[in-house]
Amino acid sequence: MFYREAGQFKTTYPSDMAIFPIAQDRIGIGIILAMAFIFIPLFASDFIMSSVMIPFLVFSLAAIGLNILTGYTGLISLGTGAFMGVGAYACYKLMTIFPGVNIIVWIVTAGFFSAAVGILFGIPSLRIKGFYLAVATLAAQFFLQWCFVRIPWLYNYNASGAIEVGTRTLFGIPIVGPNATPEARYYVLLCIVVVLTWIASNLVHGRIGRSWMAVRDMDIAAELMGIKLLDTKLLAFAVSSFYAGVAGACMMFLWYGGGEASDAFNINQSFLILFMVIIGGLGSLIGSFFGAAFISILPTILKFGLPAIGVPLSGATAEHLIHITVGGLIIFFLIVEPHGLARLWQIGKQKLRMWPFPY
């Protein structure tokens, strides 16, 4: 009834090609942004900020990155965790070598280092596809993780092998380090995520996105139409790793605030992000957010939400129950809609167009 494009006529191609051609969608996005920028920081507690919202945003960014590679270009990667690690370490090195430059510059620059490494490990993708490529990207995961442990230069020869994060400020407000409030870190992260999501959406709606999807859907036809396979695939690896790298830097500096980084970027992380992309919806940016929310927020809600409403849960039982519930829900959603939560969302919108008169 309210969600309907009737009466919204497009008279120019640009307005027809807009990313949100329906006015209700534009209003919806406005509301979501207002919530994220105003209401959540106003009303959410520090706990929700730092253990729900910040992890959610970091994972969303990583999931968008992997979705560009796996969902849009059809190349499976199990090296996301390692590419995130490259971002984190690159940011750490840059920050310690050039302490005068603002940390946000380094967080974004770290993405380029990750992109370069991604291109390097993406080269085999011209020859191998599918599961075999997944195995080839495992090489990246193990090799890079080995580097994170064995090359002390990366963590500045700390005896503990951990990344130490000092305080860094933006306009005099600490945004990184022990003195940074969750609100400040959240705002920085939110700005990065919004801008990078916007850029990702521009890319996938244009010529580059079309050539990615063309390679995914039918590489032979794409090649015979003059799309260069290697260039297209490597660009996908580069962009994807850029996002992963920025997500890794954000994870280390805006979420963890330092620590034993080699553990944070292990193979589990790669799998977790792959699951987010699959459950959220391959080839969908909004799906990346859904998937990240599902996998990163749900356990937290179960862990702290259930005791809050009076369901007694403690320690090990809680952990087990959470694993069971999340696992069950993953299976449930995959049976209901194998194309992910994004497809459910789409179907819901389609139904809403007809509601309440479905005929």
């Binding site: 090609m17 521009n202 999807m213 139409m225 003059g226």
Partner: protein, 269 residues
Amino acid sequence: MDASVHHKTSTLAKGDTLLAVDNVSLAFGGVKAITDVSFDIKKGEIRAIIGPNGAGKTSMLNVINGFYHPQQGRITFKGETRQKMRPYVAASQGIARTFQNVALFKGMTTLDNIMAGRSLKMNSNLFWQLWRHGPAMREEVEHRRVVEEIIDFLEIQAIRKTPVGKLPYGLQKRVELGRALAMEPELLLLDEPMAGMNLEEKEDMSRFIVDVNTQYGTTIALIEHDIGVVMDLSDRVVVLEYGRKIADGTPDHVKNDQTVIDAYLGVPH
């Protein structure tokens, strides 16, 4: 579609040799797919390649647009002789094709599929693509206009925003033709454009093929099993059997050729 769409006219006049295949042989290990085949395609004609199953017709198209590399022989396109084509070179020189089994980008809409056909003609750089602004957006609109003309031409306005995976087979074939047309090809290779269609769909498709040929002067090479269609549409026919050329000439000439009749009907050896 107005003339501006097909601005890339080559210097060749109608009737000049556009493509010549000389003594091409192609083998996969011990299997000889094509043996010493030569023929030419003249600018502006509709050239049919026919033959029984496994005669090497599709392999021939694959050789022409560079997907297979022949062991022997030469390919001359627009006066340039090559030992083998490369897919990218073929595409940028103006060879487009459709496939026997529809090879559309299934997850993309009709519009995006045809837009993808314009990839080679789009060149705004990554910087502008990031912001979807300035040159990137101008280019997008300019090519959208061309694509809309193709959509009008093929009468597929209603399915513009439908993912092609959901379309019925006949329409998919039509979208695939549209995608090839978006490349503004000089030589259009059609691999069984009417396979699996009913009579009405065949008539539609034949009309589009003739229109493409007469309106835009596009040279067409087509593989087809429906002999009636082949005889009606084509100017000249080349017949392959077991990878060899057994006949070449006008439809009437080929129809009455004894080797061709034997190849199709089978003769006791």
